[in-house]
């Protein structure tokens, strides 16, 4: 069962490595968002440290939208989506595979964004890199989970990228709040545990809900 999910994820990730389509456009989109933030706020070193959690999360959120717009791109032509649904595994497992593929790509981009942000904004928090990455991973699990469901939901919709942003941004408000607060807590020595708890609650709820919702969505 899980092998099927893993194969679907691998198909997406390996395919993207060969075409380098999603990964590179996500990365360059993230860099341009960082440039926009630098030009808009011109933070000095102290301000940059305070802004860092918000910068990282806003960049992650926008970059995820680029990736999510393409989650089902491979399936859009020649009835490939129907072919995928015909696989002899539960629909939830298919969803799990698509989610896993998107999660891996998004995490790869985040791994590159984090040092880039520190270099571009001149912030020295290398010692806390592990903790910051941990928070990013926790938030990304729920973000891509809900995002993959919304991507499936908006499949075949007109102007779907705009629609995806309109739906995803308000629904992920708790992730953004908890992620920014937890990261700020790590950087300034404030409260962290309640925010990590909120991130975990969000992840668990959406990982339980979304495969089921996907099953309802694609049922004929």
């Amino acid at each position: 069962m899980l092998k099927a999910a893993y194969r679907i994820a691998w198909k997406d990730v390996a395919g993207d490595f060969r075409r380098r389509a999603t990964l590179s456009s996500m990365l360059f989109f993230a860099i341009s968002v960082l440039v926009v933030f630098q030009a808009a706020f011109e933070p000095d070193r102290k301000e940059a440290l305070r802004l860092l959690p918000g910068l990282l999360w806003a960049t992650t959120l926008f970059t995820t939208l680029v990736g999510l717009g393409r989650v089902f791109q491979a399936e859009e032509e020649d009835g490939a989506f129907e072919g995928l649904l015909l696989a002899s595994v539960p629909r939830g497992v298919i969803f799990f595979g698509k989610w896993l593929g998107n999660l891996l790509l998004t995490l790869l981009v985040e791994l590159m964004i984090l040092p880039l942000t520190m270099v571009l904004f001149n912030v020295d928090v290398w010692r806390q890199t592990g903790e910051i990455l941990g928070i990013l991973v926790l938030g990304t699990v729920g973000l891509t989970g809900l995002g993959t469901l919304l991507a499936a939901m908006t499949q075949g919709a007109r102007s779907r990228e705009t629609l995806l942003a309109l739906l995803l941004l308000p629904l992920t408000a708790p992730l953004l709040i908890a992620g920014v607060q937890a990261m700020a807590g790590i950087l300034t020595g404030g409260e962290v545990t309640p925010w990590i708890r909120l991130l975990v609650i969000f992840d668990v709820i959406y990982l339980a809900l979304t495969p089921w919702a996907f099953g309802w969505l694609v049922e004929e």
Partner: protein, 231 residues
Amino acid sequence: MKFLARMQAPLGVLTLIALAVGLWMVWTAPADFQQGGAVRILYLHVPSAKMSLFCYIFLTIVSIIHLWKRSETADILAEAATAVGISFTGITLASGAIWGKPMWGTWWAWDARLTSMLVLLILYKGLMVLRHSMDDPAKGARATAILAIVGAVDLPIIHYSVVWWRTLHQPPSLTMAEKSAVHISGPLLPPLLAMSVAFILLGVYMLTLKARQIEAQRKLDALEAARLHHE
């Protein structure tokens, strides 16, 4: 739906009477000793905030029924509830801002209730856009119903995350002001009850009107499609 058609006229008259009585009671109610005449906005604000939440609860229930029984009526009611809900949410946010300016000294504060209401407004809008951006109406209805349920799960999480955010981050000065406004007592209570009843009637009336309009629209679309097919 036939039942709704027969109910509509009496319901409309009843709503009008209830609104007239409610507004008269609001007009003659004593002014608050701290808030003055501005407290009267709350008689509009509180019932409308309740209605925007009731509409979402109703929307969630009919969405589940639509997914489960594939009922067309449930889907029509869901579309109508979204339209009614977004208008009540808009009224809530606008009246809250008008009340907030003289009371809090600001139009807007990132308080848990205000933030949740704003997210609710965007969610209603998202539901409307999603439904109409699909070429296949059945697929649009299904996706919208699922999004409504996802939203129903998300709204409490959003509310509590903002509550935690504000209480951990800064003292909840503004929520105190809002809470004291909820503890309305004595002569201020009857007009609030009257307005609540009036708004419930108004909500049901708007829902029947919108549901009948959507039903007629769908019949018309089906006829148009049949005519094009025939030609």
